[in-house]
Structure formats: structure tokens, C-alpha cells
């Protein structure tokens, strides 16, 4: 497994920091990028914006918050699924909301999974562990060519 990469999309700095702390412990040798809103996430995935001239990215898994300024999590999902390169990228929604409506919409827009951010830190930590174990370790990702095979 080469070039394993996690993209964390989270606007709240406390949440982002706690998640980064946990993820770094869980997956110490994996590159983790954190962006603070949807626009930044899409720029990162498409290689736009600052710093200029970046390559488009295909993360091993995207951890996506829903409630964000500018473009929210649903917007990010929707646009990703419209991009040939990101059509099959695994996106796990990490949200404080356990509203049926939000869960259903996320899956309809192509989310690979939905995890409610638990208020207890230990359970939050173990849920992230489980996400990474599954999507980053056990789960076989789609072949790289598949990302671009359709326009």
C-alpha cells in the first residue's frame, strides 16, 4: 500500500485538532491533510488555489464534516461524485448530527459511510480507529485507473 493519504475536512479547530491528534496516533506513517471548509477541500482535490501548480489528489479516505461555512459537506460530496477522478473515492461523513435526514442525504450523495461524532472521547477515538482499520487497511481500494476511466 503506497501513498496512503487522509483528507480531513473540518471547520472547527478544536474538533480538527482532536481528530488530528487521534489520527496521527492511529496512522502514524500516513500523510494527513486537514482543510477547514468545503471550498478548500475541493481546491485541494482538484489541485487548484494556493499553493499554485499542485497535482490533483486522490486520498485513500476523506473524513468529511457536514456543517461548514461556504460549501458544506453535502456540497463537497455532490461535486466529488461529479468529478471523474473522485467518483470512487471513499468519503466517510464524520458529523455531530444523527438526524435521519442528514444520514439519508449523505448516502444518497454517495457517502461510503456515516459516523456520528461521539461525545465521549474514548468512543470517538475508537470509532476513528475502526474507520481507518476498515477503509485504510482492510478494504481494497478501487484500482487507480478506475478513477479516471469514466468521464
Amino acid at each position: 500500500m503506497k501513498h496512503r493519504h487522509i483528507l480531513l475536512v473540518e471547520d472547527d479547530p478544536d474538533s480538527a485538532e482532536l481528530a488530528m491528534l487521534v489520527l496521527k496516533k492511529i496512522a502514524p506513517d500516513v500523510s494527513i491533510t486537514q482543510v477547514s471548509d468545503g471550498v478548500a477541500a475541493l481546491d485541494f482535490l482538484e489541485g487548484r488555489g494556493e499553493p499554485a501548480g499542485r497535482e490533483p489528489q486522490r486520498p485513500t479516505v476523506v473524513l468529511l464534516d457536514l456543517k461548514m461555512p461556504r460549501v458544506d459537506g453535502f456540497g463537497v460530496l455532490e461535486r466529488m461524485r461529479a468529478m471523474p477522478a473522485q467518483r470512487l473515492t471513499r468519503v466517510v461523513v464524520l458529523s455531530a448530527s444523527h438526524h435521519d435526514r442528514d444520514i439519508q442525504r449523505a448516502y444518497e450523495l454517495g457517502a461510503s459511510g456515516y459516523v456520528v461524532k461521539c461525545i465521549e472521547f474514548d468512543r470517538f477515538r475508537s470509532s476513528l480507529q475502526a474507520i481507518w482499520d476498515f477503509w485504510g487497511t482492510y478494504n481494497t481500494p478501487p484500482p487507480a485507473s478506475a478513477h479516471t476511466s469514466h468521464s
Binding site: D12, D14, S15, A96, K117, I119, F121
Partner: protein, 726 residues
């Protein structure tokens, strides 16, 4: 009459007689004769003269005698002619009467003198005229005797059948031709012939078999009806013994019948059985009479046999019909009677007799006034109308009392009609009587009720007018309320949307800081492990507990608020399975607990499974929680199913509660025990109540402190869902 030789042919005999007589004279006068020769000649001449004289004398005598004889004969023939039993007529060619004897004149009833030179045809009827003319013609043209029968009319206009026998005669002088006719009155024979012919015709055309037989029982005559009745033709029957018609076992009858006949007596209408040619029996009525000859001797019998098979059948049929009619009449469920013209009962059936209150027999011959005096007048009117018009009077209503039910006014519907004989004469009146008292009373009742009803309708219509006005007002009010309601619903929808937005914000925004606090406290505890003194170190888990608890409260509150909005998805839910699942879920918390579960038979209910699970989880967790202090905890879960609902009962022997606060139990954040004693958010029962209400059920609790608690909830059987409960 002595035969005498005719005179001319007896000349020789006459001479012999004369000579004989002369010789006798000469013997007496011998002495008086002189001389022989001369005397002989003279004597001879004298003798001749004497003989001749005697001959002449004798001839004269004989002539006289002949004339006498002729006169006598003429008289005799005239008598014969005139008094012959037949009329004799001499007619010329034109039919004019030339001669007629007295009988002939008497036959026509006319004096002979008036007939002579009259026309015979005058007495011939016009119908017989051609026959008469033809007869005359034949007589004159032909030589033989001609016969013809003529219908004639006598002078006195009496009719007569006459038989004419005619021959032609030629008169000696002028050789004219005559017709000599004998006329015989054959009227009597003609009548006898006609009578015989009629008798034969009667016998032949008779419907009854008429058989003649002799005294030995041999058939001598046989008519057509006999042929029809017995099947033998005349040729087959005549000459045969009559016993061939008698069945073997009845042969003795014939012997007896013949005995009676021989005594000169008759057998009348003797009913017996006879046998046909084909052997089948036939019922007959016999009348046998002796037949006598001209001398009055009995020579045989005439037997008249009448086929009575049909009559017997008819009589039987008539009796049957009569019995049927009687039965029909007597068992009819409607009254029937026949009154004569004087209004006396001739016939009456059982029903009418019963109506009148007398036996059938008691009616017969009695006048109407004796039986139902109250009805006499109106019945008299009706029968009077029938006699006047000849028409029936139908469905006429009679009212009155009867001896059968004194003091009780009864009503009948009666139809009366004239009963006539064959000549059309009214013999009496037929009546059909139906008691309609009950119907009449019912009609009057209905009439009364109708009147009352009409009155009530009038009253009610007035009242309705007022009600309608009131109703209109109410409708207007309802319309207003509906408007208000619609507005309120819209407001509620807005409120709901706001609430949703609020709870989303709460869930996201309130929980995030708590999560962060908990996260960092945890990291702090891990990082500071061994660097803090014991007192300080124990603050960190207390911060974490407080934050955790706050998170739980927020979650519970969100769950509760979400309940009002979530859709209710009812299916069939097995209560026992759901309870088993909750118990399994609790198992880790039951370590070291001694709990006796008493779970009764539980039904399948209509409910939203996720919501019902939450209720049961809550109630069971409560029971487990509040029996924690009990060394021998007992939790009973039973269900009682009524006609409309299931009532689930969860009983524990735990801490219980003060019944004064039973109502508060189901309020949000209501706690009857301190968190220190029994942890919990204080929102579980409120949630349960909300769920049960949404299912259309009820939830309640009963308890005494330290006596355990009884929680009940009901679920409607038909799965009714009530509106949103705030």
C-alpha cells in the same frame, strides 16, 4: 147353383126328355089309339107333334127357369159389384168416370150419381197427379194389369192412400176401350208400414242394445247398438244362445230371467255385468219383456241392455266432485253461505258458522234475523239491490254485534251474488264473508296515528326551522373556527420547522463544545498522568463526568423533541420477542444481580417497533434500576387483552414511589429520586408517554414507597394513531 147344360147344346137331350115324357102319356092313354097303319102314320105324326109340343113346353119352362136364374144372378152380381170390398171404377181415356160401384162412391165420400161423368183426377192430390196420368196411359197402351199407389183426397178432404189396379176392357158394341180400375184404401197399411219403418228405425238407432230372443234363449234379433255394445255383428249374434253374452259365473241369471218371462212378467232395470266379444266385462242395466204372438202366447223376449259403465263412472265422479266441493266449502278459511230468496240459510260453511257463533246445523233453514239480527237490515238492502240489478255486490262492509261475541263491534267484508237456476231465475244469494275487524281496527289506529303524526310534523317543522337557524349559526362559527384552525396549523408547521432547526443547532453546536471538553480533558489526563497530585488529579474525571452527563441530557432532550415529528411506522410486533431482546441487551448490566423474571403470555401488537422498543427498554431498565437494592428482585411482565386494547403491565418489587407524584412521573426532567440514588436523565418516562400517546394508548403507574411499582401502558387493537401530541 146347380150346373145345368146350356140350352143349344142340349137339343138331343131335350128330345130324349120329350120322348120319354110322351111315352109315359101314351102308356096312360093306350086304349084311345085306333088302326094300325093309318093309325100308325097318324100316330107317328101325332107323336111327333106331341113330342114337339112337349119339347116346346119343356123349353119354355126351361127358359123361364133360365130367366129366373139370370135375374137372380144379375141381382147377385150387382150386389157383388156394388158391395164389393173394393171400389170399382170404369174410366174412359180421359179419366172420366163412366161407372162406379157403391164402395167406390163411399170410398170417395160422394153419391154415385154425382160421380158419373166426373173426373177421377179431382180426387188425386197434386203430388200424385203425374203418377195417375202415367197409370192411365200405361193401362190404355199396354195390355197387362197396371198397379199404382196414389195419395188421394176424399170429398171431405180426408187424406187417403189408394192402390189402383187397372185393366183395359173393350166394349162389344162400339169397340171403345175402357179402363176398369179397382181402388183399395191402403191408408191403414201405409200407416202400418210407416209405423213399422219407424219402429225399425227406432230400434236401429237406439243407443240401447235391443235384442230379441226366443224362449230357449236363442237370439232372434240384434240391433246396431247391440253390435256396438257387445262387439258381435247381427250375423254373428242371431241364432246364437244369449248366454254367450253372460259371464260364466252369472249364467244362472238367464235361467231366472227366462222363468220370469215364461210367467209373462218383465224384468226392469236389472243391473248386472255382461261380456263383450273380446271378453271384457261391461256394466249393463237390463230390461227384459215377454214377446207374445197374435194369439197372446209368449214366444220369446225382448231384451234392452243399456251400457251403464259410463253412468256408474259419472255417478262416482259426481259423488267425488260433490265431496270435493263440500270439503272445499267447509274447509275454506273464508266464510261462505247460500241463502234462499227469503234469506234463510240453505248452506253454510264451518268458518262462517264459527263467525256467527252457531253450529252449521243450527243455521240450516233458519232466517238471517234469527242468527245475526244486527245485520238483517243491511243484508236486506244488499239482496234487494241484487234482485233489482241482477248484479253482485262486492266487498260491502258490514258492522255489528254477533251472538258469538256480544258487546263486541265486529266488521266484515262481504260479497253477495245472485245464484240462478238454469232458466236464469234467482234462487237465492251466495255470500262470501271475511272478518276484517282486526284490519279495520288497525286502519283506524293508523288513521289516528297519522293524524298525530301530522300534528307532530307540524310542530317538529316549526322546531326544525329554529334548529336550522341555530345550525346555520353554528356552521358559520365552525367556518370561522376552521379558518382559525387552518391558520393555527400553518403556524404549527412553522413552529415545527423552527423547532427542527433549533434541535439541529443544539445537536451540533451544543454537543461539539462538550465533545471538545471531554476530548481535551482526556488528553490532559493522559498527558498529566503522574504529574498531578492526587487531589488535583481527581478533578479531571469529575469534569469529564459532568460534561458526559450534559451530553446525555442534550441527547435525551433531542430524542424527545424528535419523537413528535418522526413518522409512525406500524407493523405487527411480537411483544415477547421485543422484551427478550431488551433483556439480552441489558445482560451486561445484570452481572451480580439476582432477578426473577415472570413473563406471561404476550400478544402480537400493532406498533412502531423502534418506538415500542424504546418504551420497553425504558420501563424494563427502570424496573431493573429500582430493584437494585432488592436482594431478590422480581420483575413481572404480563398483558391483558380486552376487546379494544392490550394492557401491558410491568411490575417490580423495587423502591416504588410516592403516589402523590404519580402524575409528575411522566413529565420532562421530573425525577422522584435523586441522581445520587438512581441515575437517569429524567426524560425516559416522558418519552415513553409520548410514544404510547402517539399509538393511541395510555400509560400510567401505581405505587407506594418501598412497595414496588406497577407500570401500565395500553395499545389499541386496531392500531389507531392519534394526532401529534405536543
Amino acid at each position: 147353383m146347380k150346373p145345368k147344360p146350356p140350352i143349344p147344346t142340349a137339343a138331343a137331350a131335350l128330345r130324349r126328355h120329350a120322348e120319354g115324357r110322351l111315352r109315359a102319356q101314351q102308356r096312360n092313354q093306350k086304349s084311345a089309339v085306333p088302326g094300325q097303319r093309318l093309325a100308325a102314320d097318324a100316330k107317328r105324326t101325332l107323336h111327333e107333334l106331341q113330342v114337339h109340343q112337349i119339347e116346346l113346353e119343356m123349353q119354355n119352362t126351361e127358359l123361364q127357369e133360365a130367366r129366373d136364374r139370370l135375374d137372380a144372378q144379375l141381382e147377385k152380381y150387382t150386389d157383388l159389384y156394388d158391395f164389393a170390398p173394393a171400389g170399382y171404377f170404369s174410366l174412359d181415356k180421359k179419366g172420366v168416370i163412366q161407372e162406379v160401384n157403391l164402395t167406390g162412391a163411399a170410398l170417395l165420400g160422394v153419391e154415385r150419381s154425382r160421380l158419373i161423368n166426373g173426373r177421377f183426377a179431382r180426387f188425386v192430390t197434386p203430388a200424385s197427379q203425374p203418377d195417375f196420368l202415367a197409370f192411365l196411359k200405361r193401362v190404355f197402351v199396354e195390355t197387362g194389369q197396371e198397379v199404382c199407389d196414389l195419395a188421394m183426397v176424399k170429398e171431405d178432404d180426408a187424406a187417403m192412400w189408394a192402390r189402383l189396379r187397372g185393366t183395359v176392357a173393350v166394349s162389344a158394341g162400339d169397340s171403345r176401350k175402357w179402363c176398369r180400375v179397382s181402388v183399395a184404401d191402403i191408408t191403414a197399411f201405409q200407416h202400418a208400414d210407416e209405423a213399422r219403418a219407424r219402429l225399425v228405425a227406432i230400434v236401429e238407432s237406439s243407443d240401447d242394445a235391443i235384442i230379441g230372443k226366443d224362449l230357449h234363449g236363442i237370439i232372434t234379433s240384434w240391433n246396431r247398438a247391440a253390435e256396438r255394445l257387445f262387439g258381435y255383428t247381427e250375423a254373428e249374434a242371431v241364432g246364437q244362445p244369449v248366454t254367450m253374452l253372460i259371464p260364466a259365473d252369472l249364467r244362472m241369471e238367464e235361467t231366472r230371467i227366462l222363468e220370469i218371462i215364461r210367467r209373462g212378467e218383465a224384468v226392469s232395470h236389472y243391473e248386472t255385468t255382461r261380456r263383450r266379444k273380446d271378453g271384457t266385462p261391461v256394466e249393463v242395466s237390463l230390461t227384459v219383456s215377454p214377446v207374445k204372438n197374435a194369439r197372446g202366447e209368449i214366444v220369446g223376449a225382448s231384451k234392452i241392455a243399456r251400457d251403464i259403465t259410463e253412468r256408474k263412472r259419472s255417478v262416482a265422479e259426481l259423488q267425488r266432485v260433490s265431496v270435493l266441493l263440500d270439503t272445499l266449502l267447509h274447509t275454506a278459511p273464508i266464510g261462505f253461505c247460500f241463502l234462499d230468496r227469503d234469506l234463510r240459510f240453505v248452506r253454510i260453511n264451518a268458518r262462517l258458522a264459527q263467525i256467527n257463533g252457531f253450529s252449521v246445523e243450527a243455521h240450516l233453514g233458519r232466517h238471517v234475523s234469527e242468527i245475526v239480527p244486527a245485520l238483517v237490515d243491511s243484508l236486506g238492502d244488499v239482496t234487494g239491490r241484487i234482485l233489482a240489478t241482477g248484479e253482485a255486490v262486492l266487498n260491502h262492509e258490514f258492522s255489528g254485534e254477533t251472538p258469538a261475541a256480544p258487546g263486541w263491534m265486529r266488521t266484515w267484508s262481504e260479497s253477495w251474488y245472485p245464484v240462478r237456476d238454469n232458466a236464469g231465475e234467482v234462487l237465492g244469494f251466495g255470500g262470501i264473508v271475511e272478518e276484517v275487524t282486526a284490519r279495520k281496527q288497525a286502519e283506524e289506529q293508523i288513521h289516528r296515528l297519522n293524524a298525530e303524526l301530522d300534528q307532530r310534523v307540524v310542530e317538529r317543522t316549526a322546531a326544525l326551522g329554529l334548529e336550522i337557524a341555530a345550525h346555520r349559526e353554528a356552521e358559520e362559527r365552525v367556518g370561522q373556527l376552521n379558518g382559525q384552525f387552518t391558520a393555527r396549523v400553518a403556524e404549527l408547521a412553522d413552529t415545527n420547522a423552527e423547532l427542527e432547526s433549533f434541535s439541529y443547532t443544539v445537536s451540533h453546536d451544543l454537543r461539539a463544545p462538550l465533545r471538545h471538553v471531554l476530548g481535551f480533558v482526556r488528553l490532559l489526563a493522559e498527558g498529566a498522568e503522574g504529574k498531578l497530585d492526587a487531589d488535583t488529579a481527581q478533578y479531571l474525571p469529575r469534569i469529564a463526568d459532568a460534561a458526559t452527563r450534559m451530553g446525555q441530557l442534550i441527547d435525551a432532550l433531542l430524542d424527545f423533541s424528535r419523537l413528535g415529528r418522526a413518522g409512525l411506522h406500524q407493523t405487527e410486533v411480537r411483544l415477547d420477542a421485543l422484551i427478550e431482546e431488551r433483556r439480552a441487551h441489558l445482560q451486561p448490566d445484570l452481572e451480580g444481580r439476582a432477578i426473577e423474571w415472570k413473563i406471561g403470555p404476550l400478544p402480537v401488537v400493532q406498533a412502531d417497533p423502534a418506538m415500542l422498543r424504546q418504551v420497553l427498554a425504558n420501563l424494563i431498565e427502570n424496573a431493573v434500576k429500582f430493584t437494585r437494592a432488592q436482594p431478590a428482585a422480581i420483575i413481572e411482565i404480563t398483558c391483558e387483552s380486552g376487546p379494544t386494547e392490550h394492557v401491558v403491565h410491568i411490575r417490580d418489587n423495587g423502591a416504588g414511589f410516592d403516589p402523590r407524584y404519580a402524575d409528575k412521573l411522566f413529565g420532562v426532567f421530573q425525577r422522584l429520586h435523586s441522581v445520587k440514588d438512581f441515575e437517569g436523565t429524567g426524560i425516559g418516562l416522558a418519552t415513553s408517554r409520548r410514544i404510547i400517546h402517539r399509538h393511541g394508548g395510555r400509560i400510567w403507574a401505581e405505587s407506594q414507597p418501598g412497595q414496588g411499582a406497577d407500570f401500565y401502558f395500553s395499545l389499541p387493537k386496531n392500531g389507531q394513531i392519534t394526532a401529534i401530541t405536543p
